[in-house]
């Protein structure tokens, strides 16, 4: 856009001033978004602490904090409660929220569909079917420890469903609408298969299956946490590296390609990340539907769709909602631990509504 000879005089000065003004405004916008992301991070820490401090056995918050900082100063029962129950559950909530939200955010962008999420496109249903096979038919995989058998099955089917989406995406001439439809078809197919397995299941297996499919943090353990944390750590740098490209993809597929972005490649690797994130989470905690859908929407309302901020904000929003849901699952029925999958929607919807109405006020 540079004119051949730089214009001089008062006009150029006015121009400089207005450009400087716009640059400053953009810098302010970026700063505000960083603050919002940091704020979400702080909120997540508070929610996490709150989650650790909540539970049927009444441990005062002060004890919990000192127990976290200095485990050896605790008596044995408290140590077990904090270190073997509350902390793994609470961390699992945060990690699962992070992973599902990131998966949902990437899916919504690469499929150009605000309703896309691991849940709405069949990943969770596929995992349920895998779990159903393991529970009801009692099949087991070689070389896998017994208590990892069920997650392994769920993982394989979840991964398989995303890879099927992937294969569809690589067929020449499939638009993103076709992909989304195919994902929805997967939901119905796997739900039907799960129903079929349920039909032939024993009473006991059926009960286990229903409980599994509700999504629960009680399957958390330190080694599972380690696996999920590793998956997230491995995936996030690649997601962030693709953030400008994903931002450009929001302007349309032809547009992004004419910027020099290989959309096929972007979509391929993004779906690969999504499959790892979603399959691992669902395998460990069961079906948790709402997070992957709503966390990206919350992030979008807060920071827009510059993916450098949108992706981190989605992850943190997911972690916050999951944490609050975990707290809710302990408080709603005193003394009982509800499956967290039931609570996520109950916590997430109001949070979402508040934001939507807050935005309306501003307009």
């Amino acid at each position: 856009m540079r004119p051949p000879s730089a214009p001089a005089g008062p006009q150029a000065e006015v121009r400089h001033a207005s450009h400087a003004g716009e640059r400053a405004a953009y810098a302010r916008l970026v700063r505000r978004r960083i603050l919002l992301v940091a704020g979400l991070g702080a909120l997540m820490l508070v929610a996490l602490l709150f989650d650790i401090a909540t539970g049927p056995s009444n441990l005062p918050l002060a004890d919990v904090v000192s127990g976290l900082l200095n485990p050896s100063g605790l008596d044995a029962p408290s140590r077990v409660i904090i270190w073997e129950v509350r902390l793994p559950y609470a961390l699992m909530a945060v990690l699962v929220g992070t992973a599902l939200a990131l998966a949902g955010a990437e899916m919504q962008t690469i499929l150009n569909n605000p309703l896309a999420s691991p849940f709405t496109l069949g990943v969770s249903s596929a995992a349920s079917f895998g779990a159903a096979l393991a529970l009801v038919l009692g099949v087991s995989l070689p070389l896998i420890p017994a208590d990892w058998n069920l997650p392994a099955f769920a993982f394989i089917f979840a991964l398989g469903s995303v890879l099927m989406l992937q294969a569809m995406a690589n067929l020449r001439g499939t638009g993103v609408e076709t992909l989304v439809l195919f994902g929805i078809a997967l939901v119905f197919t796997f739900n039907a298969l799960v129903a079929l397995v349920q039909y032939v299941a024993s009473q006991e297996a059926l009960q286990q299956l229903v409980f599994w499919s509700m999504g629960s943090l009680s399957r958390a353990s330190w080694d599972k946490l380690g696996v999920l944390a590793l998956v997230i750590l491995a995936v996030v740098p690649f997601s962030l590296k693709a953030s400008w490209r994903m931002t450009a993809l929001r302007l349309g597929e032809d547009r992004a390609r004419s910027f020099g972005i290989s959309v096929r490649q972007l979509r391929f690797f993004s779906l690969l990340r999504v499959s790892l994130l979603a399959a691992t989470s669902v395998a460990f905690v069961g079906t948790i539907g709402f997070i992957g859908l709503v966390a990206p929407h919350i992030a979008r309302l807060l920071v827009g769709e510059d993916h450098r901020f949108f992706l981190p904000a989605s992850m943190l929003a997911g972690a916050v909602i999951m944490s609050l849901a975990s707290v809710g699952s302990k408080l709603i029925v005193p003394g009982a631990l509800l499956p967290v999958g039931i609570v996520t929607a109950l916590v997430g919807v109001p949070f979402f509504m508040v934001l939507i109405f807050a935005r309306r006020e501003r307009l």
Partner: protein, 267 residues
């Protein structure tokens, strides 16, 4: 030396259906604007997308006179990342519901493929602002794309193409949603840019008088075939309009000498 774009035996298919078959043109020269006109479904968008490397095409599209005139650059089959260094395409359809500001969207045109453009963030910002200013939409830079009018959105979309400063600029109906002031402004700007930087501009238009006024060359496409090609006064004739557009029309210069098309009735 101004660059040249040559098209030789170009064929484009959607599935098995041929849209453009064996199309050849005399070289399109840089420094001026070439209009691509023709009725709906003639294949204008398809041809532009083929030039942009967005649909696979058979035949040859060459860019001559880039680094060394002796070695023309074959564009067909080039990976998108390399293609995009030389060619930018502005699509006809605009995206819906995008939570980005006009400035961010313009910036992403440079930042998302920085390895080809080699720019610092600050340079990219400066270039984005200059582009918005030249289009007269600097005051929209902080507005969200989803809160713009149709015409404003089209101008923002044009900014995303111009900011890349390509050698070949392909614009698919960039003025279809604009009022007369902005239509003139955009056409003047495009003609100016073509001249200043001696770049190749191919623009799809439905307004024939406007094409005649601002473009040095008119290519008329009909069913994927070139129906007329040449200077405005050569290409735009009552016979061509009757044959291609199925209208009875007169082509007359106005008092200032610009060609006007007066349509009497649909034939």
């Amino acid at each position: 030396m101004a660059p040249l774009l040559t098209l030789d035996g170009l064929s484009v298919f959607y599935g098995r259906r041929p849209i453009i078959e064996n199309l050849s043109l005399t070289p399109i020269t840089g420094g001026g604007v070439t209009a691509l006109i023709g009725p709906n479904a003639a294949g204008k968008t398809t041809l532009l997308r083929a030039l942009a490397g967005l649909v696979p095409a058979k035949g040859s599209i060459r860019l001559v006179g880039m680094a060394s005139p002796a070695h023309p650059l074959e564009l067909t089959g080039l990976p998108v990342s390399q293609h995009a260094r030389h060619v930018t395409y502005m699509p006809q359809a605009l995206p819906q519901r995008v939570a980005l500001t006009v400035f961010e969207a313009t910036l992403s045109a440079l930042m998302s493929a920085r390895s080809d453009v080699v720019l610092s963030t600050s340079e990219a910002q400066a270039r984005a602002l200059e582009t918005l200013e030249r289009l007269g939409i600097l005051d929209l830079s902080r507005r969200g794309l989803d809160e713009l009018s149709g015409g404003q959105r089209q101008l923002a979309s044009l900014a995303q193409s111009l900011v890349r400063e390509p050698t070949v600029l392909l614009l698919d109906e960039p003025t279809s949603a604009l009022d007369i002031h902005h239509q003139m402004r955009v056409m003047q700007l495009v003609a100016e840019l073509a001249r200043e930087r001696s770049i190749i501009v191919v623009i799809v238009l439905h307004d024939i008088a406007q094409a005649a006024r601002y473009c040095q060359r008119i290519v008329v496409l009909e069913h994927g075939v070139v129906a007329a090609d040449g200077l405005p006064e050569q290409a735009i004739t009552p016979q061509m309009l009757a044959r291609v557009y199925k209208v009875e029309a007169r082509v007359e210069p106005c008092s200032q000498g610009f060609l006007q098309v007066i349509v009497d009735r649909a034939a």
